[in-house]
């Protein structure tokens, strides 16, 4: 989230699209109902299903899953056509005026530079014209036909309300009503908030879905303001934290990236990071990259990381591919290229697409280790549960070790919510049986491994032997010890760069924040964006002061919000070019002539003058990007692509199948249904229900009572067509698998008309499996295709094709 849950109370219009906040995040949704009740805010829900969010909306518009970009670009087109744009904001705070290089084109659904064989682009043409001064060329009048604004205008022109109806199936009158309400928020005194989640990410163009809305929010001037923003609702309690701390194949903590094998040393590595400003005076905060990186290496390897060895740069593994994401990992496993796999509380068998492939892959492992508080399906993938897990245990040679871990109620520590708040929690109960904390388990594995390497030697033992392990009880580090390590420490005295007499931190002391980080090895810091969370003032994540001056919803003294306790990202953009709030009633920070101050920690250097320094300090431009240069694999603008399995052929680019830059593994393509397939005529989507949380709560008897059994939702029309009775049983199958379910026949799903064709939607909730208290059931991953988003490889769970028929009852 750019903003926070409590900030949603400040909005005028909530657009829930690509999410279902009322069902998946009920307590956060409270702030929507508060905004409605207290400010007269309106709620729009755009979704293939009439959801529980829709049940309290002011306007519901149906949409075919996987067509959000067409809808959003249609909105952008509407706003531009009708001059519903916050022009001053767009000119000053976006790259609308930046002139794009000759050679950049978009034609027939493809951007310039496409290589069909590689399914990838040469992105060199996707960039700005660079002037003689080394800075990007900008036309403030927006007259240049090659400036971003004019390119965007041309790019979205095709998405007329008629085209939106044709692609999305959204009736034109509903779309126009949405457009009118959204366009009103181009006023500087109106804010719209976007609440989205996996309904946007789980597509082969998930990142572009989000970009499209972000672009709309930028042209409406809604980023950085109270009640505005791009608010990813996010899934699990610490999905934000795990990502922040970098537990992904290609990441280091704090969104630093792992080197690839073309970067043999630290200098080569730094040459593509630490961006220089593209415009004069800009902060381009990544210029500090080296400080973050070196401090991280000091946290990892302590005294073994020295200037002489490039701060142990070689200890880091170097990537040969963009990343070993889970789809790649399981594809490798499927090929027998992975021997050991450790799952720390992640139910892979239920969570990844094409369950049959996942089972086959796990069956090829030598060892699977599962650490979990609950008996997961993954740990029991080899157990026969009839149709629900039809395997032959004797044929599976994988050794499985299941380790009982504690749950939230039994450990201390912090979780980062979607509003970027790091909140500390305290254990309240004794763990059951022999269950152990994850910190204990990981320490034991490390110490045992270290012991083995110390005793036996082996392949490059240095990083293991030298891993910094400064805990009082090495076998059982405490949460506080690790939190301090994440925050960072001064290894030598750290002084202010501008004023060397001013000491920021004495040697051995905790750092006040990331501004004190140094690139000479005098500081250590596990995760730079978290620095400040546990400093000499104490554990700031444990703060519980609910003071909130003027009830802005900022709660600056509650817990700690990264970065630097900032509650609204880009909050400098809440004020105009002179530093005055666009909307005086919705002030966040203002320029008082000498510095920035207000209700939040300014997201800019406190003394950066308003006219000079742009609000988007992480970007070398200092402004936000409507055109994203070469930073996305599938294009600098979003464009409509059909899902890989689609009931119609792409109306705007008939020759392009799916997202042309999305990675598809050998073999998986064969398992996709053809576009407009007669064999699989129905458009399916998967989703969560409010009664359950993923695959956990089916272990909770009370939640099992609330929603006991797997079902699929279909329209009355499809039920009539297929002879499916309410409360009857159905079989649903895709090219990859088949499930049996109860039928929920509802008015809340209606057939759509897309490109002249009736499209029926089949809704498949995801909470069932073969362990726990609820009835045994199937997961949608029996059916879903094995393909991910072009940029981040999130699987396409939200749009695929199936067929359906009535059956007499469940197969045993």
């Amino acid at each position: 989230m750019t903003n926070s849950w409590t900030d949603i109370r400040n909005t005028d219009l909530v657009v829930i699209m690509g999410g279902n906040a009322a069902e998946a995040h009920p307590c956060g949704f409270k702030w929507v109902t508060e905004a409605k009740a207290n400010r007269g805010a309106k709620l729009i829900v755009v979704d293939p299903r009439y959801t529980r969010s829709a049940s309290v909306s002011d306007l519901y518009a149906p949409i075919r899953q996987g067509t959000d970009i067409a809808f959003l670009l249609g909105l952008i087109n509407y706003c531009i056509e009708n001059d519903k744009v916050q022009r001053d904001y767009v000119k000053a705070f976006t790259n609308a005026g930046y002139v794009v290089k000759q050679g950049f084109t978009y034609q027939d659904g493809l951007f310039s530079g496409y290589d069909e064989a590689k399914r990838d682009y040469d992105k060199s043409s996707w960039d700005y014209e660079i002037g003689a001064d080394g800075f990007a060329v900008v036309d403030d009048t927006l007259a240049n036909p090659r400036c971003v604004w004019n390119l965007l205008k041309n790019h979205v022109a095709v998405y007329t309300p008629e085209m939106v109806e044709r692609i999305c199936g959204t009736p034109k009158d509903k779309f126009l009503k949405v457009a009118e309400m959204v366009a009103e928020c181009s006023s500087p005194t109106k804010a719209m908030t976007s609440m989205y989640a996996l309904g946007w990410t789980q597509h082969s163009k998930g990142s572009q879905n989000i970009r499209a809305m972000a672009m709309l929010q930028l042209i409406l001037g809604n980023i950085g303001v109270r009640g505005g923003g791009m608010n990813a609702l996010r899934g699990h309690s610490n999905i934000q934290g795990l990502t922040d701390v970098g537990l992904m194949s290609n990441l280091l903590p704090g969104y630093l990236t792992l080197p690839n094998e073309k970067e043999p040393d630290l200098n080569a590595y730094m040459s593509t990071r630490g961006f220089k400003p593209l415009r004069p005076n800009q902060m381009s905060y990544w210029q500090n990259y080296r400080k973050f990186f070196v401090s991280f290496q000091k946290a990892m390897y302590g005294s073994a990381a020295t200037p002489e060895n490039d701060f142990a740069y070689d200890y880091l593994p170097k990537l040969d591919v963009p990343g070993y994401d889970v789809l790649r990992a399981f594809d490798m496993m499927h090929q027998g290229k992975i021997n050991l796999y450790l799952c720390q509380g992640f139910n892979a068998l239920q969570a990844f697409p094409n369950k049959q492939k996942i089972t086959a892959s796990l069956s090829k492992l030598k060892l699977l280790v599962v650490m979990d508080p609950l008996a997961t399906e993954t740990a029991r993938f080899w157990e026969n549960h009839g149709a629900h897990n039809d395997v032959d245990p004797s044929a599976i040679q994988t050794e499985v070790i299941e380790l009982p871990s504690t749950c939230f109620a039994e450990d201390d520590g912090s979780l980062t919510n979607s509003g970027r708040w790091l909140q500390w929690h305290w254990a309240g109960g004794t763990p059951p049986g022999e269950a152990k904390r994850d910190t204990w388990i990981m320490a034991q594995i490390h110490l045992r491994l270290k012991e083995l390497y110390r005793g036996e030697g082996g392949a490059f033992p240095d990083p293991i032997l030298n891993l910094h392990w400064p805990y009082a009880d090495p076998g059982d580090p405490t949460a506080e010890e690790i939190a301090q390590e994440i925050n960072g420490r001064a290894l030598a005295k750290v002084t202010d760069t501008a004023d060397p007499t001013k000491v920021l931190a004495e040697a051995g002391k905790l750092l006040p924040g990331f501004a004190a980080l140094r690139d000479d090895g005098s500081t250590s810091c596990g995760c730079w964006i978290y620095s400040g969370c546990f400093n000499e003032k104490g554990n700031n994540m444990a703060r519980r002061d609910t003071d909130d001056p003027d009830e802005t919803g900022a709660y600056l003294k509650w817990a700690f919000s990264w970065p630097a306790n900032r509650r609204i990202l880009y909050n400098r953009a809440s004020a105009d070019l002179n530093g005055k709030a666009w909307d005086p009633d919705r002030k966040v920070i203002e320029w008082d002539g000498a510095k920035w101050s207000g209700y939040d920690v300014p997201d800019i250097a406190p003394t950066a003058k308003p006219g000079e320094v742009g609000p988007f300090i992480m970007n070398p431009e200092g402004v936000s990007r409507l055109f994203t240069r070469g930073m996305m694999r599938d294009g600098p603008f979003p464009a409509h692509y059909e899902p890989f399995e689609s009931p119609i052929v792409n109306p705007v680019a008939p020759n392009v199948r799916g997202n042309p830059a999305a990675r598809v593994f050998e073999g998986d393509f064969r398992q996709f249904a053809e576009p407009a397939s007669a064999e699989f005529p129905y458009a399916a989507t998967s989703y969560r229900l409010t009664e359950h949380f993923h695959f956990w709560t089916k272990h909770v008897v009370v939640n099992a009572v609330m929603q006991p059994e797997f079902f699929v939702e279909i329209s009355e029309q499809l039920a009539a067509e297929k002879g499916i009775a309410k409360d009857g049983w159905v079989r649903v199958w895709s090219k990859r698998g088949s499930v049996t379910a109860k039928a929920m026949v509802t008015k809340r799903i209606k057939p759509l008309t897309c490109d002249g064709k009736t499209v029926h939607i089949v809704g498949i909730p995801l909470h069932w499996g073969f362990t726990g208290a609820a009835k045994k059931g199937f997961g949608p991953n029996m059916l879903t295709p094995y393909v991910g988003d072009a940029n981040i490889e999130t699987p396409e769970y939200k749009a695929f094709l199936v067929n359906i028929e009535p059956v007499s009852g469940p197969v045993a």
């Binding site: 795990l242 280790v369 309240g428 904390r437 990981m442 909770v700």
Partner: protein, 199 residues
Amino acid sequence: MNIELSRRAFLQTAGAGLAGTTLGALGFGDIEAAHAAAIRSFKLANTTEARNTCPYCSVACGVILYSKGDLRKGEQAEITHIEGDTDHPTNRGTLCPKGSALLGFVKAPTRLQQPMIRKPGADKFEPTTWEDAIDRIARLMKDDRDQNFVATNNDGVTVNRWITTGFLAASATTNETAFETYKVVRSTGMLVFDNQARV
């Protein structure tokens, strides 16, 4: 015994009794029945509180754990109730259907109690000890790493990577667990490393 007499007497008594109670029923009397306490005693009295956050979604609602026994005093603590924390700015004491039923997660019948191992081809788990389990994991990790570690690529560049073993982190563990996990995993050179945020 003379049945006829006794029955007669009984019938007469009954008749009189009936007439008498009919009067009572018309409002000339009241029956005092034993009073039973209607209101349950408050079940959180004398419990210990701990502040926590809900482990499910990323709204991160504040919750209070109520237990018999106090962990901070070194006692065994059994959680008996969980409800929303009204002091929390986001949820203000409210909880969704999952959060309201958190106690059922803590006490789920399917909570794991001890380390288990499933041998190749077996159709069930067998109990094992932590000692043996960790030994086994470390041994297999080291063997696989030693065998498959790639120190340099074909171009002779130092790459120090290990891609035949993978690690999947979840997304409900703490940041502290996450960072420690990061250290342990990355220090081995593992690249097949991901978390739930991917999906």
